[in-house]
């Protein structure tokens, strides 16, 4: 019995690792191509079949790419926007999602659906009306259009996501707290949020990605190239007729390092069992 169990477990594990290794190679391929190109001379990047070792190693692609645009200035701009958006999103989307999942009020589901509809309008036709709205509010050439909306719920995607996550937590916890005289605000921050770390980290990481890669927003609302963000800086390597592939690859690699590190750290909190254990027995 024991032996059978052990061998079947070993087989299971081998299969799992096999799949993961194949998946690893398949999924890391684009990134590997990106990195090896970032160290190559343009002429070597597109040789067919592709070569994977740069000959010679063009280390200077990096300093050249990063000095070709005002890198640090763009980085600061991006960080300013990022910090505001992260705070606004995490704070308000938690609050709103709590309302849509753990509080009951008339018209709740209608408003929820209304907010969802914001995801169903193609950006192309919303672009100019929204721009005109901001012009009227005096937000053109400031970071306001890029940060303020985050403080108003953080967007339907995040609200919907957290609503789903929040709704997996048993209501008995809330009830017990209310019986003890807690307010919904306290329940949200003392009970729901601590139990929703994976969901909140997901929102945090995704929001980071969104700000980091947002291209159209900064371009449309800013009129000073000194206010541009990193994503816009990347486009200086592409023109209508030619692209400086080696610098573009180097800059792209440099720019996605922070998101990768963030994800690497964040996923550490995705560990089963730290959320709920033995609640039924209680």
């Amino acid at each position: 019995m024991e032996l059978k169990e052990r061998t079947s477990r070993k087989l299971e594990n081998t299969i799992v690792y096999a799949f993961l290794f194949i998946g690893l190679i398949v999924y890391i391929l684009p990134f590997a191509w990106l990195v090896r190109s970032s160290f190559m001379d343009i002429s070597q990047i597109f040789i067919q079949p592709p070569e994977w070792i740069p000959k010679p190693f063009q280390w200077q692609n990096y300093p050249k790419a990063l000095t070709a645009m005002p890198f640090f200035r763009y980085l600061i701009n991006t960080l300013i926007i990022l910090i505001s958006v992260e705070f606004g999103t995490l704070l308000t989307s938690s609050t709103v999602a709590f309302s849509f999942s753990r509080l009951k009020w008339r018209g709740r589901d209608i408003f929820f659906f209304l907010i969802l509809t914001t995801l169903m309008i193609p950006y192309t036709v919303i672009l100019i009306p929204t721009f005109l709205l901001w012009k009227y509010l005096g937000g053109i050439n400031t970071f306001l259009p890029l940060t303020v909306p985050a403080w108003f719920g953080g967007g339907a995607f995040n609200i919907f996501l957290l609503r789903q996550f929040f709704s997996t937590i048993p209501y008995e916890l809330d009830e017990a707290a209310y019986l003890d005289g807690a307010t919904p605000w306290q329940v949200l921050w003392k009970i729901t949020v601590p139990l929703s770390k994976p969901g909140l980290i997901t929102v945090g990481v995704f929001t980071f990605m969104g700000v980091w890669g947002d291209l159209l927003g900064p371009i449309v609302y800013l009129n000073d190239s000194s206010k541009y963000t990193l994503a816009v800086g990347l486009t200086t390597f592409m023109s209508a007729y030619t692209t400086q592939w080696n610098y573009l690859m180097a800059a792209s690699t440099a720019i996605i390092v922070p998101p990768i590190v963030l994800y690497f750290i964040g996923q550490r909190f995705f560990v089963e069992g730290i959320v709920l254990t033995g609640l039924r027995e209680g």
């Binding site: 990134f31 067919q48 192309t124 909306p149 996550f165 997996t168 307010t183 994976p198 089963e272 709920l276």
Partner: protein, 293 residues
């Protein structure tokens, strides 16, 4: 208690409601109104009533675009959900190098579009591409991938498998909320991994599956812009003329913003309908621990 909850409920939801009224409602109404004009950004718009909508009925690109987009959406959402859940389950296990594996699977989703498009142009290349080389070693005939009008959408569906990093992450997060004792209960009853999966995992993460399904559909139906813009220009023979790309072309390249808004309005109504439908099915298969009804 109910009244108190109601007041707190509205208060908490206020940021989003206000946000909707301020940032979203106006522009949405504006784009709806513009669809009844012949505005082209330059100059003043004038009302032409239902002219745009009448033209849409005769527009062969509109019809082609709609079918192409739905084809892609259905294919990529279902393939995506299955693949993402598969990887999430594997990545949820206690494996060595878990952090590295998880990050690796997320990488393609954050690689800038221009870089990943180049890689895919190489992968899809009929002469030198990796995919055809693989087919060759397996003794299979080469394909034309994105250069063939029948193969281009399946090619993009294949490509979407690389982009499931976000979906995997959401599934992973959802898997964390499953209490261990439920699995133990199945084990005690002599159940296998399939029983655990069917009776514990799936119901417990059904709220998250629901999210990925809805967002997946909404997202996939509006996707394809980058692929069309960078890789295929909507071809060959309109076979990759994604709807979002056609909306963009009309607004910003053909100078037909009014028509573009009409296209967009029709599409949005379709999306509303589809989403309502999916929501209506949710009581049958989505299990919420605590969604206050």
């Amino acid at each position: 208690m109910g009244k108190l909850q109601a007041r707190w409920g509205i208060l908490f939801a206020l940021p989003a409601i206000l946000g909707f009224l301020i940032w979203n409602l106006g522009p949405m109404i504006a784009s709806f109104v513009i669809s009844f004009t012949n505005w082209s950004i330059a100059g003043r718009p004038s009302f032409i009533n239902f002219e745009n909508y009448k033209k849409i009925f005769d527009d062969f690109v509109f019809k082609k675009s709609l079918s192409v987009t739905f084809y892609y959406a259905v294919g990529s959402v279902f393939v995506g959900l299955v693949v993402a859940l598969f990887w999430a389950l594997l990545l949820n296990r206690n494996i060595i190098g878990q952090a590295l594996f998880r990050t690796a699977f997320f990488l393609p989703a954050i690689t800038p579009a221009i870089a990943s498009s180049m890689i895919w142009l190489w992968l899809f290349n009929p002469t030198f591409g990796l995919l055809n080389s693989i087919l060759d070693t397996l003794g299979l005939p080469p394909l034309e991938w994105i250069y063939n009008e029948k193969q281009v959408i399946p090619s993009f569906i294949l490509m979407s498998i690389w982009g499931v990093g976000y979906t995997i992450t959401i599934f992973l997060a959802g898997l964390q909320g499953i209490p261990q004792h439920l699995y133990e209960a199945v084990e005690i009853d002599g159940g296998s991994w399939w029983d655990k999966f069917r009776h514990v995992t799936v119901p417990m993460i059904s709220p998250v599956i629901f999210f990925n399904l809805v967002m997946g559909l909404i997202g996939a139906l509006q996707a394809g812009f980058a692929q069309a813009y960078i890789m295929t220009r909507g071809g060959p023979n309109y076979a990759s003329m994604f709807y979002s790309y056609y909306v963009y072309l009309n607004a910003f390249e053909y100078g037909k913003m009014g028509y573009s808004c009409a296209l967009s309005t029709i599409f949005s109504f379709m999306l509303f309908g589809l989403t309502i439908l999916v929501f209506k099915t949710s009581p049958y298969w989505v299990y919420y621990e605590a969604l206050r009804k």
